[in-house]
């Protein structure tokens, strides 16, 4: 992803060019949607939250440090929005398994990959919201323990324990005998 192009689009968007912001959304929408999808595990909710992320980001674009990369910034907005969403909709989440299923049956290996992906998403979905978020920030956004602590406003020890327990639960789910 070309950071210079992102910067140019952000500068144009700050001047009120909504088409430039549309192009910026175009470049990052899939990755932002995937952040939401990994945390929420429901396609419709993930798409709605991804849309909400870009709307929030547009409102806060003047606060963005133009010398930094846009992608981590927008991913963190998405992750925080998803956590807030999970906390306010605790009982109502379901893995959208029907839509995860392979609609175009392929070779056996491809079906196996799909099945493993579904299992990983399912295991992630079974984690408590805070565990999901630390896994997202550590494994998919490559943040350090200190950065995660600062992002979630929790102690470093909590980051370590959340991550450790989340991984333990994931390993149990993924490697449990069927």
């Amino acid at each position: 992803m070309d950071a210079t192009a992102d910067r140019d689009l952000i500068l144009c968007a700050r001047r009120g060019d909504s088409e430039a912001y549309g192009n910026l959304v175009n470049r990052h929408q899939t990755s932002v949607f995937n952040v939401c999808y990994r945390i929420l595990h429901n396609r419709n909710d993930a798409e709605d939250l991804a849309q909400e992320t870009f709307i929030r980001a547009f409102d806060r674009l003047h606060t963005f440090d133009i010398e930094r990369e846009f992608k981590p910034w927008i991913h963190r907005i998405a992750a925080n929005l998803c956590l807030n969403y999970l906390e306010s909709h605790k009982p109502a989440f379901s893995l959208d398994e029907e839509r995860d299923q392979d609609k175009t049956p392929g070779p056996g290996e491809q079906v196996e990959d799909k099945e493993r992906s579904r299992q990983i998403r399912s295991a992630l979905a079974s984690l408590p919201p805070h565990y999901r978020l630390v896994v997202e920030l550590r494994h998919y956004q490559d943040l350090s323990y200190d950065e995660i602590a600062s992002e979630l406003d929790i102690p470093l020890s909590a980051v370590k324990s959340h991550l450790f327990r989340a991984r333990k639960l994931l390993a149990e789910k993924l490697h449990a005998p069927d």
Binding site: H139, Y145, K160
Partner: protein, 175 residues
Amino acid sequence: MHLTDHISDVQLNEYLDNETANRAEIQVHLDSCDECAARLSAIQALFTELASLPEATLSRDLAAHFFPERKLPQLPRWLTLTAALQAAAALVALIVTLPFLPVILTQVELPSFTTIFGQFQNQWRAFLNAFSTFHLPELATLPIPVMEISTLLFALAAIFVLWIFGNGLLLRNRS
């Protein structure tokens, strides 16, 4: 940490996350302890599985929300109202005059095409003659150029047509 002590799962997690201060010591222990190396491999396998999760695709374009809709320029209300009134008046006039039209047309002697063309040619020739005999006047005595009224009207009509055509082109490019 003693080399003989086994490494805890927490330490192994920190080691894999590059978040441990005594990395070298852990590495030395892992080289000599199969049990700890096996536990490290198991955690590493989980990391690999998480990294293998493919990107899902969106079912709708989120960017579309931000692209401005291309709308046709809105004309002012007074202009549309005036145009509608003009059209209505023209229609009424046409309906009123329609029964009289055959009577009027029989009274009017319309010139033939050759007559019109001949007149046009004469006027054009007169226009060119006027130009060919035109000399820049002395600044001190600036006489009014002698020009037939028909020539002048013709020139004005030509300019008017050009002006309308030019404006049409400009408006077409803006819409």
